[in-house]
């Protein structure tokens, strides 16, 4: 484990070095928050509660949702695909490193970078400018754990797509399709409560809502009690483990393409 920590530190530093990228992410997210605020404000001008959510809750959901969206956007799929396609993977294969764990930690660094660049400013602006209030409840304490599980799921999906580099020249199509599916079915764009009931039931079992909807619910309605939260987290945990393992098995298959067909 000790040998992987400096890797997370390194990718955090890379984020810091590109100061302007950092700055634009911060500014971009503030602009988005403003747009979301006025959009939902006008929707809520017709009713105080929609689908059981108040304006305060919806804005919290959407605002934090956008922060989590940027937080998890580490472009791991692009990087991994690039490294495989360009043969840079040879540098990792000749070191005493596990490729998956290496990438997990590199991503953890980017995640922490995004946390500094986006999550903290967003939290400050939501609280100080838009005066969003948090309700007190158990969910608030579960939120960080749930977010970590969300990160694991999101990483595994990205890693999966990155591994396609062994088979395909371009990752653009897959990657954009993934983005769209996740944005829509995870609740990142619109709270899942706004979806038809039956669809919500199906989505509950998919990994996408486990990335956004689950942690966001813990923040917007933290007082629902463990009866609601524990099953949600169980689904998260199952996906986090399942996908990590599946990605590992997939790597063992995919690497054979390189080892047998050449790099």
């Amino acid at each position: 484990m000790r040998s992987y920590l400096p890797i997370a530190r390194a990718s955090y530093m890379v984020g810091l070095i590109y100061r302007f990228g950092f700055l634009f992410t911060v500014v971009g997210n503030i602009v988005y928050l403003g747009v979301a605020y006025y959009l939902w404000r006008s929707i809520y001008s017709y009713s105080d509660v929609i689908r059981g959510l108040t304006f305060n809750e919806t804005f919290l959901y959407v605002g934090v949702g956008s922060a989590v969206f940027v937080l998890l956007k580490t472009y791991a799929d692009w990087f991994i695909h690039y490294e495989i396609r360009e043969g840079l993977i040879a540098n990792y294969l000749t070191k005493p490193l596990d490729f998956q764990v290496y990438n997990l930690f590199a991503n953890l660094g980017s995640l922490l970078m995004n946390l500094t660049a986006v999550a903290l400013p967003t939290a400050l602006i939501m609280g100080l400018v838009f005066k969003v209030k948090l309700t007190y409840g158990a969910g608030l304490f579960l939120f960080p754990i749930s977010l970590l599980l969300a990160f694991l799921i999101s990483f595994s999906i990205d890693y999966f797509i990155g591994l396609m580099g062994f088979y395909s020249e371009s990752v653009w199509g897959l990657s954009t399709t993934k983005e769209i599916i996740i944005t829509v079915f995870s609740g990142a764009l619109i709270p899942l409560q706004f979806f038809p009931e039956d669809m919500q039931k199906v989505l509950f079992w998919l990994p996408f809502q486990a990335i956004y909807h689950t942690p966001l619910m813990m923040l917007t309605k933290p007082d629902q009690g463990l009866v609601v939260f524990l099953p949600m987290m169980a689904v998260q945990l199952a996906w986090a483990f399942g996908l990590f393992l599946a990605a590992r098995l997939f790597y063992n298959q995919a690497i054979k393409v390189l080892r047998i067909a050449g790099g």
Partner: protein
Amino acid sequence: MSLIHIENLSKHFKILNRREGLSGAFRDLFSGDYRTVEAVAGISFDIEPGEIVGYIGPNGAGKSTTIKMMTGILKPTGGIIQVNGQVPYDNRIRQAQIMGVVFGQRSQLWWDLPVIESFKILKEIYKVDQKTFDHHMDLFNELVGLKTLYSQQVRTLSLGQRMLCDITASFLHTPQVVFLDEPTIGLDISVKAKIRSVIKELNRERNTTIILTTHDLGDVEALCQRIIIIDKGRILYDGDIKRVNALFGAYRTLKLQIDGFTESTLQNLKDRLLECFGMEHGITIAATEEFWTDVTIDQAHTPLSDVLSFVMGNFTVSDVRIVEIAMENVVRKVYDGALG
């Protein structure tokens, strides 16, 4: 016991036969039409601890494939391969600990970070203790002035500086064997000389075995006692560099650009040189690229300066270059039985 043991090692690649055009590309989607390429076709050699071995051959000879099998990236199709008594691809992570690798075209350093950070990261990856780390960093500083580069981003380094950093980094964890895949590619003469002296010093320091692939015979001449020449996946020569040197070291190619060059100029040049230096002059002439005429001279028979002054005196020459014999020519001569 030898450090690297290779016996009848082979590696075959299956390559899809691609068809022409759009419709061909569609049919290729379902094609099962593969052909087998023998990248390495049954090679055997042993390498002892502390050796510097030059592993040379033209492009596509199978050099990199062999290196990739020794480092455990590729799985051989057949034969035996052992590094330090272990099969590389079976124990990749453990084996990586005793190896250092530099791929000339791809840096192992962290591109966006200052140089020192890469060394710190490698220290943790290989679990190098502080004392060894300090000792090596001092040594590297002595050899290449590493300290002045510490705070510089890797991507802002010149190619030569980057290569020196890459090479020293591959020695950080005191590996038993270091693979250098084309470490002098694209570098100028003075940087090449620097890199060669650094490699030599690092080899001497801990008696580290080094396997070097290169296109530059100068690298081999400067560093290796032993040379393995490979082409089309087969070993053509394995042995002392002295014999190769005796044969090719004396050859130089004089490249000439002659004004108003025609086919008859070439014949004229041939006749005049024959007339001047006699039958046993060891000179061959060929028109290679456009405008350039190559005169290859065996200096054991005729001094290059004599030929040069003769040509300059009798022809209007607009440009001259002197080059060492090319790898391709060495391999061709070995085929012709020069070392047999």
